[in-house]
Subunit: 318 residues, 2 copies
Amino acid sequence: MARPEVDVAALVAAATEGQPRAVARLISLVEDRSASLREVSAALTPLAGRAHIVGITGSPGVGKSTSTSALVTALRAQGRRVGVLAVDPTSPFSGGALLGDRVRMQDHALDDGVFIRSMASRGHLGGLSATAPQALRVLDAAGCDVVLVETVGVGQSEVEIAGLADTTIVLLAPGMGDGIQAAKAGILEIGDVFVVNKADRDGAQATRRELRSVIAMTDRADGSWTPPIQLTTATTGEGVDEVVDAITAHREHLDVSGQLTRRRLARIRREIEGLALAEVRARFDHLSGDARLDTLADQVLAGATDPFAAADTLVETL
Amino acid sequence: MARPEVDVAALVAAATEGQPRAVARLISLVEDRSASLREVSAALTPLAGRAHIVGITGSPGVGKSTSTSALVTALRAQGRRVGVLAVDPTSPFSGGALLGDRVRMQDHALDDGVFIRSMASRGHLGGLSATAPQALRVLDAAGCDVVLVETVGVGQSEVEIAGLADTTIVLLAPGMGDGIQAAKAGILEIGDVFVVNKADRDGAQATRRELRSVIAMTDRADGSWTPPIQLTTATTGEGVDEVVDAITAHREHLDVSGQLTRRRLARIRREIEGLALAEVRARFDHLSGDARLDTLADQVLAGATDPFAAADTLVETL
C-alpha cells in the first residue's frame, strides 16, 4: 500500500491531547473510508476502551436531541468530558450539516470538554454499523469519559444503536401511545435505562406504570439488571441528573457483573465479521475480467462443471 | 454430505423425456434450495443451453400476461415446445398459486408441449437472480425450445429479468406515458424487441414513433442490432406472430454475431459470483461461537490488534 499523505500518528497524538480539529479530521478519515482508515484504526484501537458508550434512542417527538443536550450539561457539571455522535441514517450529509438546526447543541459548541459530531450513514457501505465503531474509537481515544450516540431523524436503527453501546437509554413521552409502540419495536429488550420525557405533561406517571408492568414481563438478556424508569423534563433539566446517576449505576453493574467485557466482545465480533464480509465482497467486485472467473464460466457453459462447483472453486482460490 | 432421499438421476431422466411432474419437482427442488440442489444443478448443467430464453418486461397494465399467453399460442402453432417462468418478486408463494387467477394461461394447461411455472422470489436468499437460473436450466433440459420469463406484479426486476434472458421483450401500451417511464426505468437499454400492445387504442402509432426516436438516441450495448418495434393486440393475437419472428431473428443475430455466447458467459459469471458470495456469507453465519473469531475479538479488546487486521486474518482462515 502506498504511504498515505496523512500523518496519522501526528493526528492521533493531537486527538489524544483533545484537539478538536484533530478529532474532527480523524472522524472524517474513518467516515470517508480513506486510504488511511486501516492505519487510523490500528493506531486508535489500543487507545480505546475507556469511554462509556451510551446510546440514546426513541421515537420522533420524544425530545431526543433536547435530552441529549441536557445530558451533556449534566455530565459537564460533573466535570466529565463528553462526546456526542449524532447519526442520521436517512441523510447522505455529514459533518456540521445537521448541527445548524440543532440549536440546543450549540450551547456546547464553545465548551472544549465536549466533542459533537454528526454522521450520515445512508449510502455508506455497511451503514451505521460499519463506520460508527471507528468514530466511537476516535472520541474514546480523545479522552471522552462518556460518548452519547443518538440517531437523528426517523429510522429503524434503534437496535443497531444498542449494538454499539454499553448502556442504552430508551426515551418515551406520555400520551403518544409509546408503550405499545415500544413493545412493537423491540426496544423494551434493549433499554438499560428508560426515560419518560416531557414529564410535565399529563399521563407521565401512567406511562411509567405501564412501562414498568410491560418491562416486568419482558425477557431480558441481562436478567440481573432491572432497568430504572426516570421522569424528566429535558427542556428545564428536571430529572436529568438522576438519568446520569442511572447510567453511571448501569456502567458499574456492567463492570462488576462482567457484562461490560461480554458486551464489548460481542460488539467487536460483529465488527470483525462485518469487515471480513466487506473485504470478501470487495474481492468479488474486483473479479470482473478475472481470468479464473472467465475460465470457470467457460467450463459451466460447456457443461464441464456446474455453477455450484465453480463457485466452490472460486471461493477456494480467493 | 448425507445421500439425499431424492433420486435426482431418475427425476432428470424423466424431465428430459418431458414428463411434467418431474419438471415441476425439479423446479421445486431448486427453488426450495433443498439438499439435492447441487446434485440437480450438476446433472442439469450439461443438458442445458439449447433453449432460447426470452424475458418479457413492462409496466403493470400493458398486458404482460395476455401477451405471454398469446406468444405461447403463436410458438405452439410453429410446433415449438414452450416453457413459461412467471416470477413474482413480491409474493412468498410459489407453485400453482399464481396461476389460478391467470385465466388465459389455463388455455395451455392441457397442452403437453407447454410447461408453466410460477416462482416467488421474496424471501429467497439472493432473490430472483439466485434461483431463476436453476429453474431455467430445468425447463431448458426438459426440451423447451423457448422459455418465456415474465415478472408478475409490480417490481423493479426489469433489469434482473434482462440479465437472465438471451432476448428481452419490452412491452408498452399507448397513452400511458410509458415512453418517458421507460426511459426513466432504463428499459430502453435492455430491450431487444419492443412491443406496443393494445394497438387498437388511440395513440399506438404515436407511441411507436416516440419510441423509435428515443431508441435512436440511446446508447446500446449491442450496437449492431436495431430493436424492432411491433404493434400487437394480444387479446386477439394481432401482430403476435411478428413478435415471434422478431425474437427468432434476434436469436439468429445473437448466434451469428457471437453475442449469444458472450451474453451467456456474462450470465454464468454473475451466477458463479452470486453463489460464491452466498457460500462465503453462509460460512460467516456459522462463525458465532467459532473459537477463531473469539480469539480475534479478545485481541482487539486488548488492543493487541485492530479490527481490520483481525478481519483480514479471519478471511485468510476461512
